[in-house]
C-alpha cells in the first residue's frame, strides 16, 4: 500500500475562527474513504483545504511525498480532481464543453483541445453514461444527470485522487446507488483513490473501506466501518440514540435511527 496524501496536524478556517483544528490523516492509493460527521464538523472545509481553495494556517499537507504548498496549482490539478455538490452557472455551456474543461490543467494557454483530449472527454462521458447528453446544455439537465456530468469532468482530468462533496446529496435512492456503484467500479478497476463526504452513514458503511468520523474540526475516530460505526461513537458525536446492527446482504454495520431519542 502506497501513501498518496498525508495531512500532518493541519488547521484552517474562515475569518478568525479555526474550523479544522489539528487534523492528521493518511490516504493510501486504492482507498475509498468516507468522511462523515455532523453539520459544521468541518467535512466540506477539510476538502476545500486539501484541494487548495482554502489556505492552510498550521501543519503541512504532503501529496506523493511533496509539500503541497510548494506545488504548482496546475500540476496538482492534473492529479487531484474535485466534484462539488452541484454547479450553477449563468453561461450556457454544453455537456461536452463542460467535460472538456477537465482538460484545462493539461492544456497550455491558448492551446485548443486536441483529438486526444476529445477522446478522453468522450471516454469520461461513456463511463458515466452521459454520452447521449453530449450536446445538451448543462442547465437543462436533471440533478442526477448533472452530477454524473460533473464526475465526468473530474474523470477527464485523469486524476489519481478524486474528492467528492456529498455526491448523493440531492438524489433519490436509485440515483444514489448508480453514482456510488460507478465510484466503486472506478476505485476497483482503475485503482482510483476516492475520498468523499457522505451524510448517509449506511452508504458510507456499504461502500467505503475506511471512514473518518469528524467532530468539531477534529477526527473523532478513523478506521474500518466496523471500527467507526459503533453506537458509542455515533451517539457521542451526533447526540442521538441509534441502534447498530448488520446489513443482511453486505454484512457491514447498519445504523438504525430511533425517533424521539435525541440527547438533551
Amino acid at each position: 500500500m502506497k501513501r498518496l496524501l498525508k495531512l500532518d496536524n493541519v488547521s484552517a478556517g474562515y475569518y478568525r475562527e479555526d474550523i479544522i483544528k489539528g487534523i492528521s490523516l493518511e490516504i493510501n492509493t486504492g482507498d475509498l474513504i468516507g468522511i462523515i460527521g455532523p453539520n459544521g464538523s468541518g467535512k466540506t472545509t477539510l476538502l476545500r483545504l486539501i484541494t487548495r481553495v482554502l489556505v492552510l494556517r498550521k501543519g503541512r499537507i504532503y501529496f506523493q511525498g511533496l509539500d503541497v504548498s510548494q506545488m504548482n496549482l496546475k500540476e496538482f490539478c492534473r492529479q487531484v480532481a474535485f466534484v462539488a455538490q452541484d454547479i450553477s452557472t449563468n453561461f450556457p455551456f454544453t455537456v461536452m464543453e463542460t467535460v472538456l474543461m477537465g482538460r484545462i490543467p493539461h492544456l497550455k494557454r491558448l492551446q485548443f483541445e486536441t483529438r486526444r483530449d476529445i477522446e478522453i472527454a468522450e471516454g469520461a462521458l461513456l463511463e458515466t453514461a452521459t454520452i447521449n447528453l453530449k450536446d445538451k446544455r448543462i442547465d437543462e439537465l436533471s440533478s442526477g444527470e448533472r452530477q454524473r456530468v460533473i464526475i465526468a469532468r473530474a474523470l477527464a482530468q485523469e486524476p489519481v485522487l478524486l474528492f467528492l462533496d456529498e455526491p448523493t446529496a440531492h438524489l433519490d435512492i436509485g440515483h444514489q446507488i448508480q453514482i456510488l456503484d460507478l465510484l466503486k467500479k472506478l476505485n476497483r478497476r482503475d485503482d482510483l483513490t476516492i475520498v468523499m463526504v457522505l451524510h448517509d452513514l449506511n452508504l458510507a458503511s456499504a461502500y467505503c473501506n475506511r471512514i473518518a468520523l469528524l467532530d468539531k474540526g477534529s477526527v473523532f475516530k478513523e478506521g474500518s466501518p466496523d471500527d467507526v460505526l459503533t453506537y458509542q461513537n455515533i451517539e457521542a458525536v451526533y447526540k442521538t440514540v441509534v441502534l447498530v446492527d448488520r446489513n443482511k446482504i453486505t454484512g457491514k454495520p447498519n445504523v438504525v435511527l430511533i425517533p424521539g431519542n435525541q440527547y438533551s
Binding site: R48, T51, R52, V53, L73, K74, E75, F76, C77, R78, A81, F82, A84, I87, S88, T89, N90, F91, P92, F93, T94, E97, T98, M101, G102, I104, P105, L107, R109, L110, Q111, F112, E113, Q157
Partner: protein, 320 residues
C-alpha cells in the same frame, strides 16, 4: 473546432470589409464607389476612415471588456462602465472645462479621471488582499452615483458652457480628428484585448465559479485582478476619445454567446469582429439617417441592439 472558428472569422472579416467600404462612401456627402480614390475626396475619406477605425476600436474593446467582466464577476449585468470609469472620466472632463484647460488636454483629463476612479473602486472593494465580486460591483455603483452627482452639481453651478462641451461625451461620438491620438489610444486597447484572449481558457473555468476554477488549476485570485485592471485600462482609453458608448459592452457579448456559445476561445475573436461590424454599421446610421444632423452613436447602438437581442433571446438555442 479550429476549422469552424476560421470559417466564422473569415465570414465576419468579409462582412466587416463590406461595411467599412460602405462607411467610407456614405455620409452627409455621398461618394460613388468609382470616385473612392479620387484626390478631391481625399479629405472626406480620411476623416471617415478615422471614424471607422475609432468605431472598430470602440466595438471590439468594449465588447471584449464586457465579456471578461461578465465572466470574471459571473454577473450577466456586468459591463465596462460598471467600475466607475465613465463617471470618473466625466467628472475630470467637466473640471477641465471649468478650469478652462485647453481642449487638447481633455482626453488626458478624462483618462486620468477614469484611472483614478478605478483605483478608488478597487481599493474600496479590497478586503485583506482579496477582491470580493459583490464589493467590487457595489463600490463601482456607489462611486458612479457619487461622481455623477458631483458632475450635475458642477454643471448647475457653472452653467451651460460646461454642459455644452460635455453633451457629445455622454452619448458618445466617434469623430476623431487626430491620427496621433487615435494611434495612442489603439495601443492599450489592442494590447488589452490580446491579454484577455490569452486568458480565454481561464475565463471558461472562472465562469463556472471561482472555486470550480481553482479545482481546474486556475489561479483565480491573480487572474481576476489582472483582468479587472486590463478592462479598466481599455475602457479608460476609449472613453477619452469617444465618450460613453452604451450597450456595446453589455449586450453584444450576450448576443454573441447566444450565437456562438460561451466558449471564450471562440467567443472573444468572433465578438471582436462582430462588435466592430455592429458599431461601424451603427455609425453609418448615425451619420446618414438625419444628415447633416448626426445622431449620437450611443443612441443608435441602443435602438438597434435592443431589438436584435430580444429576437435572439426569444429564438433560444444557438444556431451557428
Amino acid at each position: 473546432m479550429v476549422d469552424n472558428l476560421k470559417r466564422k472569422l473569415f465570414m465576419l472579416l468579409l462582412l466587416l470589409f463590406v461595411m467599412v467600404v460602405i462607411g467610407l462612401l456614405k455620409g452627409a456627402v455621398h461618394i460613388p464607389l468609382v470616385n473612392l480614390l479620387v484626390k478631391e475626396n481625399q479629405i472626406i475619406i480620411n476623416l471617415r476612415l478615422l471614424r471607422i477605425l475609432a468605431a472598430i476600436l470602440v466595438g471590439s474593446g468594449l465588447a471584449v471588456s464586457g465579456i471578461a467582466l461578465q465572466a470574471v464577476l459571473r454577473n450577466p449585468l456586468a459591463e465596462p462602465y460598471l467600475l466607475g470609469t465613465s463617471s470618473g472620466a466625466g467628472l475630470a472632463a467637466v473640471i477641465a472645462v471649468i478650469l478652462g484647460i485647453s481642449r487638447i488636454y481633455m482626453p488626458l483629463a478624462a483618462f486620468l479621471g477614469a484611472v483614478l476612479s478605478i483605483i478608488l473602486v478597487y481599493n474600496l472593494a479590497r478586503e485583506g488582499g482579496r477582491i470580493r465580486d459583490r464589493s467590487l460591483i457595489l463600490a463601482g455603483v456607489i462611486v458612479s452615483i457619487a461622481f455623477s452627482s458631483v458632475i450635475v452639481f458642477l454643471v448647475s453651478l457653472f452653467g451651460d458652457q460646461a454642459m455644452h462641451e460635455m453633451s457629445w461625451w455622454l452619448w458618445g461620438s466617434l469623430q476623431v480628428y487626430d491620427w496621433r491620438l487615435l494611434s495612442l489610444v489603439s495601443l492599450p486597447v489592442i494590447l488589452g484585448i490580446a491579454v484577455i484572449y490569452i486568458f480565454s481558457q481561464d475565463l471558461n473555468a472562472i465562469s463556472m465559479g471561482e472555486e470550480e476554477a481553482i479545482h481546474l488549476g486556475v489561479d483565480t485570485l491573480n487572474i481576476k485582478k489582472i483582468l479587472v485592471l486590463v478592462t479598466a485600462l481599455i475602457t479608460a482609453s476609449l472613453i477619452c476619445i469617444c465618450g460613453i458608448v452604451g450597450f456595446v459592452g453589455l449586450i453584444v457579448p450576450h448576443i454573441m454567446r447566444l450565437i456562438v456559445g460561451p466558449n471564450h476561445k471562440v467567443l472573444i475573436p468572433t465578438t471582436c469582429l462582430a462588435a466592430s461590424i455592429f458599431v461601424v454599421t451603427c455609425d453609418i446610421f448615425s451619420r446618414t439617417l438625419f444628415a447633416p444632423i448626426e445622431i449620437p452613436i450611443g443612441v443608435i447602438t441602443a435602438i438597434i441592439g435592443a431589438p436584435v437581442f430580444i429576437i435572439l433571446l426569444k429564438k433560444g438555442n444557438r444556431k451557428l
